[in-house]
Every structure is written in C-alpha cells, then in structure tokens.
Amino acid sequence: MSRKSLASPFLLWIACGTVIPLAVIAFYGFTDRSGTFTWDNILAIFSPEHAQALGLSLLLAAISTVICFLLAFPLALILKDSKLGQKGFMIFIFILPMWMNFLLRTMAWQVLLEKSGPINAILTGIGLPAMEIINTPAAIVLGMVYDFLPFMVLPIYNTLVKIDPHVIEAAYDLGATKKRVLFDILLPLSVPGIASGVTMVFVPALTTFVISNMLGGGKIHLIGNIIEQEFTTSANWNLGSGLSLVMMIFIVLSMAALSKLDKDGEGSLL
C-alpha cells in the first residue's frame, strides 16, 4: 500500500464533507423552489432589508476586528517579552476560557450588562451614571471582541516570537527609538500573524447570529440572523443558500488576502 493512499480517507471525507455540501448550497442558491435556475437568490442581497443587515454586519465585524487588533497587539508584545512567555502557558491561559461554553460566557455578558445587573449596580453605587449598552450594537461588538480576542492574539504572538531578536537589536544599534522599532520593524514583520488573526475574527464576526440574538435584544438583525431564519423559521432554503453564497464571496476574499500576506503560514494558531 503506497504512502499516498493513506491520505484517501481524508480526501474522501473532504469530498463528502466539504465539497459536496458546497455544491448543494450552490445548487439551492441558484435555483428557486421549483428547481429552475435563477439569479434571484443572489441578487436578493441588494434588497433594502438584506443590504442593510449586511451593511450593519460588515460595520460591526470591522469595528470588532479593529478593536481586537488594538487589544491583541500590545498584549502579544507584552507576552513575547515577558518571562512567562513559555508557549505552553500562553496557549493555556487563552484556551482555558474556551472551555466555558461560549454561549454561557456571552450570556454572562448579558447578565453583567443588563440594566439592573451587577455592573450598573457598581457604577451607580460609586455615583456614575448607569450604562445602557445592552441590546444595542455596542453590546454586540463587546460580545464579538470577547469571543474572538484569543483568535487574534495567538497568531500575532506566534509570529512575533519568531522574529530574530538580533534584528530588533540591530534596529536599536542603528539609532532607532522604541516607537520606530515598533512601527518600522515589529509591525511589518508581524503582518502574516495579523492577517491570520484578522481573518479568524472578521469572518466569524460577520456571520454570527448567536451573539446578536443574545446581546441584541431581538432589536438587531445581522446577515447571520437572516440566513439562519431562512433555514429555520421561513423555510426558504433557496434564499438562504443564495445569501450564503454571497457571504462565501467575503470568505474567499479573506482567504485570498491571507494567502498573499501569509505565504509561509507563519501566523498559525498553534
């Protein structure tokens, strides 16, 4: 038995589990209920409700991604330089929260943020105005950042750690200030990790429906919610598939950008 054939169960699985389902989506996306070919399901993205949901989703996902980056990069830097940057410990600290069910953790934020919840109790207790984030887009952004932060930190950290420390010393040797080292050396060299992190945050943030359900109070409808409903409530598989195909475009774009910016797969999660 050749070595190559060892890969065949995997290939078979990928064929059945990834390729065929994508074909099924494509089929439903391009046909209507009676099975005739149509562009309607794809073009439906341009109808006002859908476009608005998509726009909002893009906006919130973008904001969350940026916030994740702004939080993650300094964190990765600090961890890189610190003694407890042993790889195992790092991953440990960030994987651990994932073991608490993510629905519950998101729900916990709902509890914490609720008008009559603990955070407001503390705020009013010390004389500050109560905040009303819950059930607004801000709450959803908070939920997205909370859920996806580890996916931004780990790839960036992994890339930073691979930078030759002598390169950084050389920069100082040539007169660079800390700021210059950050912007001219560290940032450009962490691009693969950043690209990876951005993809791993933006795509799930763009397509989530759980976070908007739990923290949006039913007031905020993202494209993910619409797609989910087409498959549960409205039973319109064709429309749902069409919209999903449109989402795939964003996903493919991210993958293409990622492969360009992170050719060697440096920005891995592990």
Partner: protein, 610 residues
C-alpha cells in the same frame, strides 16, 4: 512602564475571566435570578445530577467530542503521511482545500451539511452530528500535525530502514514519537472545538439529541436555569485539572511522575464519563417504546415527564422551539420526525391544509371528556370537528405593567405602548404574527388582514416604536419585568398569575381595541413513527391530575374541567384565565393566511428587523 504593562495584562485577563467567574458565582446562587444574589446554595448542583436531560446532553457532548477527535486524529495523521509523499503542487492544493472548513463561516458549514444530509435522505440524528464534527475537526488535526512533519530531522526514517526495520516499524518507532506533540495538540484542539461547538450541532442534530451548547441555547430565550451554570462550572474545573495535570506531566522529566499523572487523569476522566452515563439513565436502557415530543419551551412540568415514563414505560424524547415559525420547517421537511407536537392554532391550520397532520384516533384518548366543551368549540374555529387537535392551553395577549411606576389604569390601549414617556421601559414580543398583531390592533385593523397597505402601516408603526423598546422578547419578558429591567411587558395571560404572585404591584389589562387569543393544541404529524405512544401522551395530558399539576407549574389557562374547578371561586383569577364573553368577542385568533400572504408578512417583518 513595567507597571503599565502588568496592569494591561491584568485588565485583559480580567476581561476574559470575569464573566466566567460571574457564572461560577451564580451557580451557587439560591435563586434563579441572574441579577440578585439571594444566598449560597448547592441546589443547582444537586438538580444537575438528577436532571436526566442535562446528563444526556453531557454524555452526548463528550462522547461526540472524544469520538470525533479520535477519528479526526487518525484520519488526519494518516492524511499527513500521505500528503508528504505527494508532489508539492498537489500538497498545496490539498492544504488549500483543507483550509476551507477552517475559514468558512460555521453557519455556512452547518447549513450546507444539514442540507446535504437531507438531500441524500439521511435524517438528522446523533450520527449526523458526529459526522459533522469529524468534518470540522479534520483541518485542525492537519494543521497541528503537518508542521511536525516538516520539522522532522532528516533521514531518521531512512536510518531506521537501513538498520533493518520494516516501513511500518520505522514509522511507528521513529516518526510517530517525533510527531507525537503534533498529534496530541491536534487531538486536544479537535476535542476543544467539538465541545464548544454550537452552530454546526444546532443545524445537524436530530430529535432529542442535545449537546450542552444546544441545551443552553434552547433555554436562552426562557431564561437559563442555573443548573447549566453549575454544569459549566464543573466542566471548567475538570478541564482545568486535566490541563494542569498534563502540563505538569509534560514538564516533568521523571517518568514516574509522568505515568502517575497520566494514569490519574485518564482514571479521572473515565470515572466522570461513567458517572455521566449512569446519571443520564442511558445505561438503564431506553430500549423499548419512545415518544418524540416537540413543544414550546417550558410548557410542561418536568415532573410530569417522569410520571408519564413511569406510568406507561414509554421514554419521552422532548425537543422545544421558541416560535411556531421555527417549528414549521422542521415538521414540513421531516428533518426530524416527531410523534406529537404542541403548537398554535394558526400554525395547526397551516399544517392541516398541507396535509402534514394525522387524524387523531380518539379511541386512544378517553380523557377527552375532561376538556371543557366551550374550548373544544373554540378550537373548531381552526379545526372543524376537532379531528386533528386537542387543546393544551388557551390564552390572550395583554399588557402587564408595574403600578409602582405607572399608576393603575393609565394603560388602556395598545397605542399607550408608543408613548414617549415609557421610553426604554417597554418589552414587546419577538414573534412575527404576535408583534404585528399589536400594531394592527392599535391601528384598528384585523390582525389577520391581507391588505398590504395595512400591513405596511403596521410595520412603519412598529419601526417608529423601536427606539422606545428596551427589548424584544417572548418568554423572558416576565423575568425582565420582575427583575425591574422594564416596567411594561406584553405577555400572555398565563404569565400574569405567576408574576403577580412574585410582585403584587403588577397589573394586567387587555387593551380596549381587543387582542389576540390563541389556542395551543396537541396534534400528531402524519409522519409520526410511534402513533400509539403519541396518543398515550395526549391522553395523559388530559388527565385531571396532570392538568392540575401543569396549571400550578404554568399558571396558564388549561381548559380542563379540573382547572376550572380549582379557580371558579376566585373571580380575579377567572377574569384573567377564563375571561367573560364580552372580552372574548373583541379578540381574534390568528388565522393561517396562506403562503403568499405569509411571504408578504415575512418581507415586511424583515424590513422591520433590519
């Protein structure tokens, strides 16, 4: 600067862990409330172990995770070996293919898998969830193992062959030890991703199959019982122990320590799983008869489920849904087959028209005599001759408000919900027909209108109202008003008694324009597999004692003679539960409007939601 860095680290860690700590603390809270601490208690932990549904979900979650991680690891590792032997171009192509599930949105993966299963005639079950999990775990294994292959110190494989080993021996003795860390981390990562998955499981599961995630989600709308906090706390602690132990074992070079820790951890995990198996009663054997029940969430006292199982020996597999619209496609597509469903009048009408229901064999439901005749008549409005449905509850929609903040009698009309002075204090329902009914009634239209102009006007009216609304919620509305998060909530009359018990300052009114009334009834899908069991269930539901227990639990109008008997001397209760005809005539039941009109409603509803 150093202090700044430490501070930042601490802040981020706090951000990550505070919610977890909050949940852990709440798991010891005496009351169900998430906002109010009423004392230390371990009752949720006790309840957890006696709740077979939760234990089943735990069992499912971990067995699925273990099996999928194991299978994925084997297939994935084998694949890496094979891929290594291929040309660079093929390798790149395969790796690109491998990336697709990773980078794909999980909602797309979930629905594509679901559709694929159904298209090929595979109905959803435990097995489909398992297959789906393996599918999305595979890329993680590949990602973990491939780099290790790349890092292999050259020629060790050839050296082994040179020394006389067969290819398999060489592989086993030389290659495997070097890639072992990759295999282990691949397994661990797959396991983690599987346990935490929600979306994909949500779409690919069958009747009664719940994982911890789906169980939690089904409770999100109703308000999560702290039992699930207790469960999650335990899991978290277990995992913490396991991870710390494996870290220790990994770091120590003393083989005795390593062996000892590995043995302890494995033993620990096995004991846990065994315990789960026992508690979930799966081991006790569910062999024999089953009935698959699909109903609104929290509509039946769990104690009754046990009673039914004991009395009849039929195991109950129960699933819940939040809205009738959610239930419809499941029944229509037969993605999961149920034996008996409980849903609302207009939806039952639709199912009847589409021939999705079976006629009931009343010889199996002798307790039908316990049903109050008036309500059987009412039910004929959508089910002439009562051929398909037996009423479970009856209700009307009204406004519940806090008289401490809003003087009693100030709210009389639906239009009062549009007043600026109540901004941010209002909770409206999150259900297409119900929410739109409010707007339509407020405008003086029928809540069954088919006129586009009226629907458009209602939607615009609702859009206007959005900034005033605190939240759109169904069952959790009662908790919100009890918790003080809002002062006005649109609720079903069934919620009223319960909430008034907890807070006597709450008043209830059916607005003067009239309201929606509904009948929720039991029916049997045409595709039901266990028809006799289904009939037995309905019969049980009609028993006087069952009705009384359910009434105590739900405080909803159950039109059973026993319940009417219980309340007839309490005019206040009667007014809420079984209002006089004068009020009834102003109320309309939702009717099925046909798919074209349905689509129109949906379009406008989407517009409102966006």
């Amino acid at each position: 600067m150093k202090n700044l860095k430490t501070l930042y680290l601490i802040l981020i860690l706090a951000f990550l862990y505070v919610p977890i700590l909050a949940l852990m603390i709440l798991s010891f809270n005496e009351s169900k409330s998430m906002a109010v601490w009423s004392g230390f208690s371990t009752k949720w932990y006790e309840e957890m172990f006696s709740n077979t549904l939760i234990m089943e979900a735990v069992w499912n979650t971990f067995t699925i995770a273990l099996i999928s991680a194991a299978v994925a690891t084997i297939i994935g590792t084998a694949a890496c070996i094979g891929i290594q032997a291929m040309r660079k171009k093929t390798e790149n192509a395969i790796m690109a293919l491998n990336n697709i599930p990773l980078l794909n949105a999980d909602i797309v993966t979930g629905i594509s898998l679901m559709m694929t299963f159904l298209v090929f005639g595979i109905s959803l079950s435990y097995g489909t969830v398992l297959l789906s999990h393996i599918t999305f775990c595979l890329p993680y294994v590949i990602l973990s193992v491939m780099p290790k292959f790349k890092q292999l110190t050259g020629n060790t494989y050839e050296a082994a062959l040179d020394l006389g080993a067969t290819p398999w021996q060489a592989f086993y003795k030389v290659i495997i030890p070097e890639i072992k860390p990759g295999i282990m981390s691949g397994f661990l990562l797959s396991f983690t991703m599987s346990v935490d998955d929600f979306v994909i499981t949500h779409f690919t599961r069958g009747a009664g199959i719940n994982t911890i995630s789906t169980m939690i989600y089904s409770q999100v709308k109703v308000g999560i019982r702290p039992t699930l906090f207790a469960l999650s706390t335990i899991i978290f602690v277990v995992v913490l122990i396991v991870l710390v132990a494996s870290n220790m074992a990994g770091n120590s070079t003393n083989p005795k320590v390593q062996k000892g820790v590995t043995a302890f951890t494995t033993g620990f995990v096995v004991v846990l799983l065994a315990g789960t198996l026992v508690f979930s009663g799966i081991a006790g054997g569910s062999g024999g008869k089953e009935v698959h029940v699909y109903s609104y969430g929290d509509y039946i006292d769990p104690a009754l489920i046990e009673e039914f199982e004991e009395e009849t020996g039929i195991t109950v597999v129960m699933d819940t849904f939040d809205t009738a619209e959610e239930m419809y496609p499941v029944v229509k597509n037969e993605s999961v087959t149920y034996d008996v469903i409980c849903t609302s009048d207009y939806m039952l009408e639709k199912l009847m028209e589409e021939d999705l229901l079976a006629e009931l064999d009343y010889s199996g439901i002798p307790n039908i005599d316990n049903m109050d005749k008036r309500y059987l008549e009412l039910a004929e409005g959508f089910d002439p001759g009562n051929k398909y449905a037996v009423p479970h509850t009856w209700g009307s929609l009204g406004i519940l408000y806090n008289t401490k903040v809003i003087p009693e009698g100030e709210i009389t009309s639906w239009n009062d919900l549009w007043k600026d002075k109540y901004k941010g204090r209002i909770v409206m329902p999150d259900s297409m027909r119900d929410t739109m009914a409010i707007a339509l009634k407020a405008k003086g239209y029928s809540l069954n209108t088919t006129k586009e102009a009226e629907i458009a006007e209602a939607i615009d009216y609702l859009i206007q109202q959005k900034p005033l609304v605190y939240k759109y919620a169904n069952d959790s509305a009662r908790d919100l008003i009890l918790g003080g998060a809002c002062d006005i909530a649109v609720v079903w009359n069934g919620e009223v008694l319960y909430t008034q018990e907890e807070n006597p300052d709450l008043a209830y009114v059916i607005p003067k324009e009239g309201s929606e009334h509904f009948t929720d009834a039991w029916a049997m899908p045409a595709a039901a597999k266990h028809k006799d069991a289904g009939l037995a269930w309905i019969n049980f539901m009609l028993e006087k004692q069952t009705a009384e227990v359910n009434f105590d639990y739900l405080t909803y109008s159950i039109p059973n003679v026993a319940v009417i008997e219980m309340n007839k001397d309490n005019p206040a209760n009667m007014g809420v539960l079984f209002p006089p005809d004068a009020v009834l005539t102003k109320c309309e039941a939702l009717k099925n409007l046909g798919s074209e009109v349905d689509d129109m409603y949906t379009e406008y509803w989407k517009k409102f939601k966006s």
